[in-house]
């Protein structure tokens, strides 16, 4: 009689013979390391007086093909933080499911519905940083760069980034992918330092983010003119997921060789 609980429910060796382990292929190279297939482009975010504004377009590209035009890449966590995903969409979905289970576990610990004491953005960022760093150490990375926006333990606006190697950092404004080259210089004109960011009003912050989304649409060949934008305040998260890029002007393109009639 095998009393060990881990032996329960397994076919008995004395009846069926010992388990044939050759089915497990434990030699040969590890095939886990992957490459991004369906990808999301930049996520941008900026802190302001009362919170953080974050935006990302709704495109999931399959290489150069604009394959899925309404994939929402901003996710709300426990009604208090927002996570923006760029990079591999399948890993984003895995992380999304994992965050669902994390929020369920978090609710177990704190049955009182005042949801004080839940994970804030700073806690979530540290968790995700360790999670991605572990996957990097196993050479089986989640091929993403995430922006986490919300509030920290002292109820101050919090914005941080973490990527597939577990590298993480905070800044008054952040952007992933193309955005770090195109959008950051623009956002840094308004939020160069924490003090500058603390002077921005909500309208200004939203305006800057929309402006950057337009610049990215002009210059990033894997971007889309429909996007999601989230504003995180102490009261919670306001998320709009079907915004259309307005006030576009392609006049500058006239001067670019190959666009329209210009051939020289």
């Amino acid at each position: 009689m095998d009393h060990r609980p881990q032996a329960w429910g397994r076919p008995r060796d004395d009846v069926y013979g010992a388990y044939d382990h050759s089915y497990f292929q434990n030699t040969g190279p590890r095939q886990a390391t992957q490459a991004p297939i369906v990808t999301g482009t930049s996520v941008i975010a900026i802190k302001y007086k009362d919170g953080v504004v974050m935006a990302a377009d709704n495109l999931a590209s399959y290489g150069s093909l604009a394959r899925f035009p309404d994939v929402k890449r901003l996710r709300v966590f426990l009604d208090s933080s927002v996570i923006g995903f760029s990079g591999d969409v399948s890993d984003m979905q895995f992380l999304d499911r994992h965050l669902t289970e994390l929020s369920i576990d978090e609710a177990y610990e704190d049955p009182s519905s005042d949801n004080k004491g839940h994970l804030n953005a700073a806690n979530l960022h540290k968790y995700l940083q360790k999670f991605l760093y572990k996957r990097r150490n196993d050479f089986d990375p989640l091929w993403n760069q995430l922006l986490i926006a919300g509030f920290d333990g002292d109820a101050k606006p919090y914005l941080a980034s973490v990527d597939l190697r577990g590298t993480s950092f905070t800044s008054p404004s952040l952007a992933t992918g193309f955005g770090s080259a195109l959008a950051q210089p623009i956002m840094r004109r308004y939020a160069a330092t924490e003090e500058d960011a603390a002077k921005l009003t909500r309208e200004q912050a939203v305006e800057v983010v929309k402006e950057c989304m337009k610049v990215l649409y002009y210059r990033d060949a894997r971007s889309l003119d429909r996007y999601s934008i989230a504003v995180v305040t102490k009261e919670g998260v306001e998320l709009k997921e079907d915004e259309q890029l307005e006030k576009q002007s392609w006049a500058f393109a006239e001067r670019i060789k190959g666009y329209g009639t210009q051939t020289v």
Partner: protein, 265 residues
């Protein structure tokens, strides 16, 4: 030194003139995209041991390739305090190189020092902590923490103590050490200004009879000025260093933190 790990392929590795740089011949079969677990986040650190103090310093810029990720990402960490604000910490660790490994290394050493204090009822000495850090680094000898670590504190006699490391744990106690991207710029400056190398008493003799300048320990204020000058020089000539200078001065009364601005270009 920084060129060894620069993002820019041309700058990566020892620098040959263009035409005789070795071609990276493709090994048998096409070279597959492999996940590179490392990246270089730039930045530079510095530590000077004084008679009864130790100054740890590091810039606060974090880069990857040619873009600045953050202008304020501390490289200095207080280690082994009983509370989250590390008020009663006695040791400072500085890390530079690959930031994720740096963060992981700091968290591991801090956890180990906290457990030591829990088990032994007293804080870890800097000597013991230094040796422990060496074993932590060597445990990952074949998948290293890509970090140049420097540990600072006061030794049993209250004198300043600086221990510097290579990424896989070989370490040595020194008077001063610069690490990271601009180490090659700062270290010679320190040799000359802290250890007075190549400095001679003027007119004290001819040829070999020339007297070397007498070495006397640095005062704290001299040290702080020296550190600021060292970083100003480094910022001028190295793109990965700048934005802010974070200093921690360890004395028997505790650890004082100083933040100074650096050029943001």
């Amino acid at each position: 030194m920084a060129a060894m790990f620069s993002q820019n392929p041309l700058m990566n590795g020892p620098n040959y003139s263009f035409n005789d740089a070795p071609r990276t011949a493709a090994p048998e079969g096409a070279r597959q995209h492999r996940f590179d677990p490392y990246t270089d986040n730039g930045g530079s650190t510095l530590a000077i041991a004084g008679a009864d103090f130790t100054i740890m310093a590091g810039d606060t810029r974090l880069t990857s390739g040619y873009s600045i990720n953050s202008r304020y990402h501390p490289k200095l960490f207080k280690i082994g305090g009983t509370t989250a604000d590390q008020k009663d910490a006695t040791i400072v660790l500085s890390v530079v190189g690959f930031a994720a490994d740096g963060e992981a290394l700091k968290e591991r050493l801090d956890a180990i020092c906290k457990m030591y204090r829990y088990r032994h009822g007293k804080p870890m000495s800097v000597k013991a902590c230094a040796q422990r850090l060496s074993t932590i680094l060597y445990q990952k000898r074949f998948f290293p923490y890509y970090v140049y670590a420097i540990l600072g504190g006061l030794d049993e006699e209250g004198k300043g103590a600086v221990y510097s490391y290579d990424p896989v744990g070989s370490y040595e106690r020194e008077q001063c050490r610069a690490g990271g991207a601009a180490a090659s710029l700062i270290m010679p400056f320190l040799d000359n200004q802290v250890n007075f190398k190549n400095q001679y008493e003027p007119g004290s003799g001819v040829g070999h009879a020339l007297q070397e300048r007498e070495r006397k320990p640095l005062t704290r204020s001299e040290g702080e000025i020296l550190v600021k000058d060292a970083f100003d020089g480094a910022v001028e000539r190295h793109i990965e260093v700048g934005d802010g200078l974070q200093m921690m001065v360890i004395t028997k009364d505790g650890i004082e933190e100083i933040l100074l601005p650096l050029k943001k270009d």
